[in-house]
Every structure is written in C-alpha cells, then in structure tokens.
Subunit: 256 residues, 2 copies
C-alpha cells in the first residue's frame, strides 16, 4: 500500500522550529511535502493574496523532503499546493504548525495556522492545525510528539466529518506528563486590546497593539479549561458561520 | 434623546465610493465616526497587525464628519476605534462596507468587510457588513439605499442576538426593483482556484490566483439563491467555529 501524502504548512514561516518538528513527526507516517510561507504570517487570519502576485521557490531546508517557500499567506500555500504543486495527486492530510503560541478560543479567528487547515477543509481534505501554548520560540517541544502522532494517525485512519478541520492546542511543558487528549468546544474568551502609544524619531505618533486575554467561560468542556489542566485540546471547526438560531430571531423580530 | 453613535469602516479603503455611500446614508440615522484603512485590504480575512506598528491620521475627506485613516486591517480599525478613538463612548452600531463585490457564501471567510463586523460582534457591539454583488468599482449604487436604511434601522431599534454580526449582500442593479430582504444561511459554494503562471522581465516565474466560484447548493434558503433572484440576503454570522455535531463523532470514533 502506498504511503499517505501529507502536506505541511504553517504561519510562522518555513524556517521556524515548529514546522521542523512537524516534518520530523509526519515523515514517520507518510510522504511529506512542505509548502510554507517565506516569512512569518502570524495574525493573518484567513487572508489570501488577490491583488498581488505570488511566488514559490524550491527550498532544501529539509534535505530530501520536497519543500517550497511561498510569498503568500498560509491559505495561499494550501491553494498553491493543491492546485499547482500537487495538482495531479490526492493529498491525504494537511497539517499546519506547530504554531508558537496558543490558538485556543477566539484566537482561532486570527490564526494563520488554522486558516490553512480550514482552507483544506473547504477543499474536502482532512486537516489539523497544531499549536503549542507557549510563546517562547525556543520552547521545549519534546513533550508534544506522542499527542501529535496519535491525533494525526486517528485522522489518517478514520478521516474527519466533511467540512471539518481540527484545532489542536498542546499545553506548555510541565513537570507532570500531559494528562490526555480532550475533544472540546471553543471557549468563550476574548482579547481585550490596549494601544501603547509612542512617538517615532520624527515626532509622529504610532501604536503597538497590546492584547489581554480574558476568559469569561466557567465551563470545563472548552479548550481553555483543557490547556489550563494539562490536557491537549481538540476542537472540530467548521467554515459555515451561519448562526442558525439567529435566523429565527431575525425572521420573528424584524419588520422588513 | 441623543442620536446613536455609528462607526463606519470598510476594506476597500477610506477613498472608495462604497464607504462614501455608507457615510451619506448613516448620517440620516445617527452621529457618524469613520475609522477606515488608508489602502485597499480586500481578501485580508480576519487579519490583525501584531508584529508591526499602527498609525491613524485625521482625514477630512468627509467634510464635517470625524474620520481617521488607519495603516492597519479592517479588524484593526474596529479595535482602534473602540479602544482608542471612541474609548470613553458607547458605539451603538458598526457598519462596514459597502464592499465592491460579493461576500456571499464562503467568501465571508476571506472578507475584510465582514471581519470588521465580526470583530465588533466579539466586543458585543451590533454590526453589519454590506456588500454590493458587482465587482465594478463604478457600479450603480442608487438602488441600495432603501435596503441599507431599513436594515440599519432594524438593528438600531431591535439590536442583534449576542455575538452575532450580519452579512448583507445586495444584488447588482437590474431592470426591476429589488424584490425584498431575505434572512438566509451561508450557501454551500466555494472558490476553485487556478494559478495563472507568468514570467517576469527578469525571467522569474510568478503567479496570479484566479478564482472560479462554484455553487454546489441546490437550496432556496441561502444567500446565493437570494442574490440570483434579486433579493437582498441577510446571513447572521457567529464567531464560535465549533462544529458541535462533530464533537460526538470524534468522541465516539477516536481511540485516544
């Protein structure tokens, strides 16, 4: 039986240590091809490149592994891989990450890592976004192997419901081993922004956005709770944003 | 009674004719403040500016209306308006657009227009994204007034369910008047990309992304159907991406 074809991408760029880790792990499960941004794309959300050109270049950073860097966003990388680089082949799994930093809760919306996975789901390809909840780019990554391999194997063996990509967050390294893997919902938490105002050497004002993460969710079935309790969280995500319950509300309340 | 405070933003940039139209209409309903990108941001999805500085500048393009242009994305504009420009005031409504081009179906994910509205919803502010399903930036806009005023008034009067932003698409100008306003779900359609490969004057390859919109949805309760039948579509959108039905599937199927 031929090995499954696994496409790897990320949003921290092709030189990040997170993607190197995914390459090392996924080569244990299948044939790996990498198409990843040539520069960091954090916070890019589901951006795509529509008003500008795109370039991709063969990159030998991973030795024998076929890899390309791309001038576009994570979602662009998936589109280019699917419709150009691997045009005549079936991709069995797309994995994105490992993101350096959490993509739990509302962060999924801003996440380039997850936008690549959701882009794959739109195209009916099973996909996983992996994030390590540690913003230190030199963070210890030895504790992630077991969960990542276990989850990727499940998805390769059993597939995913149509139109679903999964958002996997892994707790930072702690003294005790990870407690397990929990299927969760997205926590009801958000970023409350502050703007740090400064003055540049030319006397003009500018701002840095400073986010404070605030968790309003008291439940124990959500991704924030899982991470806080040393579990890996798995949230199945969909790209149909329709709030079905609200259709009734509008139809009843509105006078149109 | 004081007039409602309405924040206007968009993704085509502060000089587009769509935002000028919204300013003209919203001044009939309340006090308007504009914070909009200083350059086009189409396809930016829910991108935010995390690794770079942000600037905002007072802009007199709308005469007496208080307006600022911003170096960031549509989502950045909403954050800056809420937490800096209008820090001590309550925003009653955020309107984004009018986008030049459709944001029906899956396009909502890539839409800077809707990311601004969803950002407002995350912050508990009622919000509407307006798009005209005509890619011609000089497109006729006289037929949009009635629907936009009607919908904005409904939202100002009755609010929206918590955490919901609405995605409004308006059909292009036709010989008959618009037939009405329909509350819809997001159609199950998608972009199938092709990459137009070219060679630059220096002999290097580059690509333009060329999207073909393919509608697989045979229903009559979705936004694509509404637009094709000369109705304005209204889709309530949520930012919780959890696919709740799939949580059961994973819990049952997976061996973790």
């Amino acid at each position: 039986m031929s090995k499954p074809l696994i496409l790897i991408t990320n949003d921290d760029g092709i030189t990040s240590s997170g993607i190197q880790k995914l390459v090392d792990l996924m080569t244990q499960l299948g044939e790996v091809v990498v198409v990843a941004p040539n520069s960091p794309q954090s916070g890019m959300g589901h951006a795509i490149t529509v008003g500008d050109t795109l370039r991709i270049t063969r990159n030998d950073i991973f030795g024998d592994i076929v890899a390309y860097d791309c001038s576009g966003t994570p979602a662009d990388c998936v589109k280019l891989a699917k419709h150009h680089v691997l045009k005549d082949r079936k991709i069995d799994l797309v994995v994105s990450g490992i993101n350096h930093g959490s993509n739990t809760s509302i962060s999924v919306l801003y996440s380039g890592t997850m936008s690549a996975a959701i882009e794959a789901a739109i195209e009916d390809t099973p996909a996983i976004g992996f994030s390590l909840c540690d913003y230190n780019t030199e963070a210890e990554m030895l504790h992630v192997d077991e969960s990542i391999l276990k989850i990727a194997k499940q998805v390769l063996d059993k597939g995913l419901p149509r139109g679903i990509a999964i958002n996997v967050n892994i707790p930072p390294k702690q003294n005790e081993p990870i407690k397990g893997i929990k299927v969760c919902r997205q926590a009801n938490a958000r970023w409350e922004e502050d703007f740090d105002q400064r003055v540049d050497p030319h006397g003009r004002k500018y701002f840095w956005m400073v986010g404070n993460f605030v968790n309003h969710d008291k439940g124990e079935d959500n991704d924030e709770w899982a991470i806080a309790n040393n579990y890996v969280s798995v949230v199945p995500c969909q790209f149909d944003l329709t709030a079905y319950f609200a259709m009734n509300t509008l139809n009843e309340d509105w006078d149109i």
